[in-house]
Amino acid sequence: MGDIARRNNIPKKFLDAILSELRNAGFVYSRKGKAGGYSLARPADEIKIGHVDRVLDGPLAPIPCASKTRYQPCGDCDEATCQIRRLMLDVRNAIADVLDNTSLTQMCDMGGPEVLIAETMTA
């Protein structure tokens, strides 16, 4: 854990919060003790980025009103006629489509700073 935080330059507290959410959702599990820490609960190629993202960031809504189940009105526009909302709902389904077809393994293969988290966990 400390390792992941250091290598990715993120506060340990923040990482802690993320990992505990992932644990609640069943993507990782934690072990206590000396050899403890977090591990993936499933093989990395079964874990889809979109599935994890919904748990961490909510229902993939680019703007708060663009969600069907977690709808938050903007306050200054009419939902029924708002073209932006309609467009954003399409955007969001396109986002879901890409992310739901990308596994953790595939993301690791892409490289980049996030990889460190994934790699440390898959290792």
């Binding site: 959702a25 874990i47 599935h51 919904r54 969600s67 189940t69 977690r70 739901d100």
Partner: protein, 449 residues
């Protein structure tokens, strides 16, 4: 032996709803020259287990508007009903007798054959085995002959033998389901629609004796209401999570929907298009947890009863004639002209024996294929050409419904349609899902033409 000529040929084994829907989809595109051989052992096509029900009160549990043979022509069944002058005060939100739906499927098959002269061959025979051959698949019949085609599709549907206590417990409508004295005490095992069938048959025969319904949770299926499904996008659905996380999301959504004046049914129905994806996104552990702890609860909410039937059943429980018992069924034995059923009530560690005139087994139509009574399934499994899925609720198939053998090898030419693919798809019991599977399978088979 009939051999296949150059043109594309498919043998469909089983002429219940799934077999007929597949045949109809294969023959829909009149440009493709194809030979479809449909083999059914009952002598009647389109009925299968569900739509051969003899009683008028044995109704479908999906409104007519959801029962069209073709997903892209949702009014097809409703139009057929109207042409026959079927009375309905609720428009297409009507629950017809199941045998009438069987007649509709027979009509669909007949039309498919008529508009494709020489392409559809139906045979009333039992299939004993299938073999992979050089030319494709050879289907061996009980009369000693066989049919060769490029591919074959298993549409053999549900297990017909009682899973438990073979020989003593009785299946509703089977030969051993002989008339009972009106005041006899009866036990029914199960909490699903077949249990309701059994109760209905008794009620329609003016049965007055006490009826004890034993199931794991002692629950009754819920009733339908004409409410629209909630509009849900795939981006809203938490795929791939643990079961507790998913259930929290589900319950929250039901609460929010109710707060807005909605109905829980809208949530269950709104999720329907995603059920196969949700199932497939789960880990083996989560699937097992679901089957063990949530399936009965899910089933009573998902597979609902026509409202008037539900009201009758609730009234029968209220009157005391039907008693719901949450218990594990341990076994049954014959004793002095009676049968003695042994159960263990939920939360209790002691077993108790109840003497009744008859036990109806209406439990799980999904049984381990290893104990299948179907000759073709037995043969496939015994020779390692097919295997049970990891959860042992059907046959192991790949994403295209092709059979997977004991070593994990896929036989592309041998496909499966219908409830037997539930290990991979789970939500594949009812017509709205089977017709989509039929369309997908047909497109794939025809793409090889």
């Amino acid at each position: 032996m009939s051999t296949s000529s150059g043109r594309l040929s498919v043998t469909i084994i089983g002429g219940g709803a799934s077999g007929v829907l597949l045949a109809a989809h294969l023959l829909r595109n009149r440009d493709t020259d194809i030979r479809v051989t449909l083999i059914e052992r009952r002598g009647e096509f389109g009925q299968g287990l569900a739509y051969s029900a003899s009683q008028r009160d044995h109704k479908v549990n999906v409104p007519a508007r959801g029962m069209s043979a073709f997903a892209d022509d949702p009014e097809h069944f409703w139009r057929w009903l109207q042409q026959r002058g079927y009375p309905s005060s609720h428009g297409s939100w009507v629950f017809v007798p199941r045998r009438l739906y069987g007649a509709y499927l027979e009509h669909v098959l007949r039309e498919a054959g008529k508009s494709n002269p020489g392409r559809l061959l139906v045979m009333s025979e039992e299939v004993m085995a299938v073999r992979e051959s050089k030319n494709g698949i050879e289907t061996l019949l009980a009369n000693g002959t066989s049919v060769v085609s490029h591919s074959a599709v298993l549409a053999v549907g549900h297990e017909t033998q009682p899973a438990r206590s073979r020989g003593i417990a009785v299946r509703v409508g089977s030969e051993r389901d002989t008339p009972l004295p009106a005041d006899a005490e009866v036990m029914i095992l199960g909490s699903g629609l077949s249990m309701v069938d059994a109760w209905l048959s008794l009620a329609d025969a003016n049965h007055r004796g006490p009826i004890t319904v034993v199931s794991r949770n002692g629950l009754l299926p819920k009733g339908h209401r004409d409410v629209p499904p909630l509009s849900i996008d795939s981006a809203d659905v938490p795929f791939g999570t643990s079961l507790p996380y998913f259930m929290r999301w589900f319950r929250d959504l039901v609460d929010e929907t109710k707060k807005r004046g909605g109905d829980w049914r809208s949530v269950v129905d709104g999720l329907r298009p995603y059920n196969q994806r949700i199932w497939q996104s789960w880990s083996g552990h989560t699937k097992r947890q679901f089957l063990r702890h949530l399936r009965p609860w899910w089933n009573i909410h998902r597979h609902r009863l026509p409202p008037e039937l539900h009201e009758r059943l609730v009234a029968a429980v209220a009157s005391g004639q039907v008693k719901l018992v949450a218990a594990e069924f341990v076994g049954v034995e014959r004793a002095e002209g009676q049968v003695r059923a042994e159960i263990r009530r939920r939360g209790s560690s002691t077993r108790e024996k109840l003497g009744v005139a008859r036990v109806y087994d209406c439990g799980g139509v999904s049984v381990d294929v290893l104990s299948s009574s179907n000759p073709v399934i037995r043969d496939l499994v015994a020779h390692g050409r097919a295997r049970a899925d990891a959860l042992r609720i059907g046959l192991d198939v790949n994403e295209h419904c092709a059979v997977i053998d004991h070593a994990g090898k896929v036989t592309e030419k041998l496909l499966v349609i219908g409830p037997l693919t539930r290990g991979r798809f789970f939500e594949i019991e009812a017509i709205p899902d089977i017709r989509v599977q039929a369309a997908t399978l047909a497109a794939r088979i025809l793409s090889h033409a």
